[in-house]
């Protein structure tokens, strides 16, 4: 059973490299598991969880190419409105986006945008862009994925965005930053986008993007409380939008998640609630539970809700919109992305329609 020196050297090489690779994989996996997206860094996938077009809302979308070279994206509007039967439509409208270096694309969702090739402004050719307008009644989300010139996903990490919800008549505006996931160099360029997680049959390279958060924290004014400045006759309501990160844009199958709420008032008393989300939902907190979120039940003006996706569910993207009313009429609002828990990143898959 003796080994030659060459064999022994070979075995040493194998063992040492195995150790190095194992440590490398473990540290890489820890990095992936801990990563969970951000609103402040340019990314490869952008989630705009709430986009609305109706009599009292329109939405302005801004997407900026943060890089010094031209970039492309495939974007999908997800219609979360309900059918007459009460089921989510979960229908999609998709389009391509081209951005020159450092360019911001801005459009009003109800109007869309059409920039034809060959248009010239100040001797500079306008980029080609065609964003379809959406009709009144749309309520849902926008998801944009960075792709190469041929339409295949890449980890370019060049996009950052904001959305502004506006009341066309009374001037009320609420703005939030898009939630972005950065891509890794493990991206295989196919239409199955692997967010977080480990190697699976659908994700042979493991995570291609950061994972979505499974746990968020929302600090809010208790439902129905008076605005602290306006006092009697005023009220504050918070509308929460939940968008599951896993999306099947190929077959338009709705993703379902259970969302649990642990609500703490200023004296640390705890109340809880839960709701099921299919495809997309935006709802006043009071409609999720009239016990856990109301000023009357919480007993304090402010509260803190820990929002957790079900243990077996994927991650979610959230936006909270706080609406201040006078005499029952909405007068002003502000929107934020809640705080996320960096220790809870989930595994999800987004499937894009094929490139044709």
């Amino acid at each position: 059973m003796g080994y030659s020196t060459t064999e022994r050297a070979g075995r040493w090489c194998s063992r040492a490299l195995a150790v190095a690779l194992a440590v490398s994989c473990i540290t890489g996996r820890v990095r992936d598991a801990a990563a969970q997206g951000s609103t402040q860094q340019s990314a490869s996938i952008l989630f705009f969880p709430t986009v609305q077009v109706d009599e009292t809302h329109d939405t302005v979308i801004q997407i900026t190419n943060a890089s010094n070279s031209a970039r492309n994206a495939r974007c999908v509007y997800l219609d979360g409105s309900l059918t007459a039967a009460g089921a989510p439509r979960c229908a999609q409208t998709n389009f391509d986006l081209q951005l020159v270096a450092r360019q911001t694309a801005l459009w009003v969702v109800s109007a869309g945008q059409r920039a034809t090739s060959g248009a010239v402004v100040d001797d500079i050719p306008q980029p080609l862009r065609l964003v379809p307008p959406l009709a009144a009644g749309f309520a849902g989300a926008l998801v944009c994925v960075e792709v190469d010139a041929a339409g295949f996903p890449i980890a370019g990490n060049a996009m950052i965005g904001t959305a502004t919800l506006q009341h066309p008549a009374n001037g009320n505006v609420a703005q939030y930053d898009a939630f972005g996931l950065r891509g890794f160099d493990t991206n295989d360029g196919n239409e199955v986008l692997c967010l977080g997680g480990t190697v699976t049959a659908a994700c042979p390279n493991g995570a291609e993007y950061e994972g979505c958060p499974g746990r968020w924290v929302l600090n809010f004014i208790a439902e129905g409380a008076e605005d602290p400045l306006a006092g009697a006759g005023s009220s504050v309501q918070t509308e929460l939008t939940v968008l599951p990160c896993a999306q099947d844009f190929r077959l338009s199958n709705p993703t379902s998640v259970t969302v649990n709420f642990s609500v703490y008032n200023e004296f640390e008393s705890q109340l809880s609630a839960s709701t099921d989300v299919s495809c997309w939902v935006t709802s006043p907190l009071i409609a999720i539970s009239d016990l856990a979120f109301s000023a009357a039940d919480l007993g304090t003006l402010h509260a803190r809700a820990v929002v957790t996706a079900g243990l077996l569910d994927g991650g979610v993207a959230l936006v909270a919109r706080e609406i201040h009313s006078v005499s029952g009429a909405p007068a002003s609002s502000g929107a934020t992305v809640p705080h996320l828990d960096p220790a809870d990143a989930r595994a999800d898959v987004i499937t894009l329609p094929p490139v044709r």
Partner: protein
């Protein structure tokens, strides 16, 4: 003998390779972005814009929560950068025209400390104009400034590396007459996460003990004064709040940084300008530079601006206002910015001795 030497050399070479791989992993994890964040709990939080004007129905609602599972103390510092008239030091002003003839509207800077305790999971909230006297939070009015809070040990009041503070702010404006007018904007406080156990002293080093300030921050915005694309009767204007990352509360000195602005229009053409910021700068784009940010100069509806501090890092918050000229009532919204790169040098927040 030669075979053994080959084996030894092979072992050394491979282990050297292993060390290089592991070292690279460690370095990669160290240089991973560790900058201030607006969407995670942190050990030091900064509310870049706190404004109170009681006579005009302007207030800021501040909320601070403990996301941890232990009682913590919090040392907070209001930095009041309200401007006052040189010929009437009791009169707050926004520009020279709001002072009596001959007066100049001058920036002031004062810092006021308060300390509170937070139980596990507890949210604490207060109106800046009223404070919360029962728990030791003072009232401030008038105020244009900011608030910084750092987590400390509940018993010793020395800084601890606990990433448990979540902050949010609501800029609230209400005028009851002639008809009720509301304008609100909400933002998350910017947080610096502790990166290690820290040394517990009063000098908080951003970039080593805590996450650092970004090397460059950037934001997309409407060019100054353009028509709102949804409601063209309104103009869109953007106010940019810039705060130096460093401050010395022990010596009573505000941070002071030369700030460079680079503005790109939609065709990638760039113009730039510089401006010194001491304590805080909360200015409309047209006040930062009279012509640089205008649609007439840039030729496009939107632009992208990057902001970089020269001698130190800066924090930036944007506030976009949609309003009809000469009509009371506006819609405002606060927005965050993109953070890029790490600074080569650290910033420092120096706390006064713990009394």
């Amino acid at each position: 003998m030669r075979g053994l030497r080959v084996e030894r050399m092979a072992r050394r070479g491979v282990w050297a390779t292993v060390l290089v791989v592991l070292l690279a992993q460690v370095i990669a994890s160290r240089v991973a972005p560790a900058q201030d964040v607006a969407d995670q709990a942190a050990a030091l939080v900064v509310y870049p814009y706190v404004v109170v004007d009681g006579t005009n129905g302007v207030d800021t609602l501040l909320q601070l929560s403990n996301a941890g599972e232990a009682d913590v103390g919090v040392r907070c510092f209001y930095e009041n950068a309200t401007h006052y008239c040189s010929n009437n030091p009791a009169t707050a002003c926004t520009d020279d025209t709001t002072c009596s003839p001959g007066g100049v509207c001058e920036a002031q800077w004062t810092a006021h400390e308060f300390v509170i305790g937070l139980m596990p999971g507890q949210p604490q909230a207060w109106r800046a104009s009223e404070g919360k006297i029962a728990v030791g939070i003072p009232a401030v009015d008038p105020m244009v400034g900011l608030l910084r809070c750092t987590v400390v040990d509940i018993d010793t009041f020395l800084p601890i590396a606990a990433n448990v503070l979540e902050g949010t702010a609501l800029l609230d404006e209400f005028r009851p007459e002639p008809s009720p007018e509301f304008d609100t904007a909400r933002y998350n406080a910017l947080g610096f996460r502790a990166l290690g156990p820290g040394d517990g002293d009063g000098a908080l080093t951003l970039g080593s003990e805590y996450a650092g300030c970004a090397n460059v921050v950037s934001y997309a915005h409407f060019t100054a004064g353009v028509a709102d694309p949804v409601a063209p009767q309104r103009q869109v204007n953007t106010r940019v709040v810039v705060v130096p990352c460093s401050v010395d509360y022990a010596a009573g000195l505000p941070g002071s940084v030369m700030v460079h602005y680079s503005v790109w229009n939609e065709f990638g053409q760039r113009v730039g300008s510089s401006r010194r910021v001491t304590g805080q700068d909360a200015a409309g784009l047209s006040d930062v530079h009279a012509t640089l940010f205008s649609a007439a100069t840039l030729g496009t509806l939107t632009a992208k601006t990057t902001v970089a501090g020269i001698e130190g890092g800066v924090l930036v918050l944007g506030i976009e206002t949609h309003a009809e000229p000469d009509v009371i009532g506006a819609g405002s919204a606060a927005f965050g910015v993109e953070h890029r790169g790490s600074r080569a040098t650290n910033d420092l927040v120096v706390l006064p001795p713990n009394l």
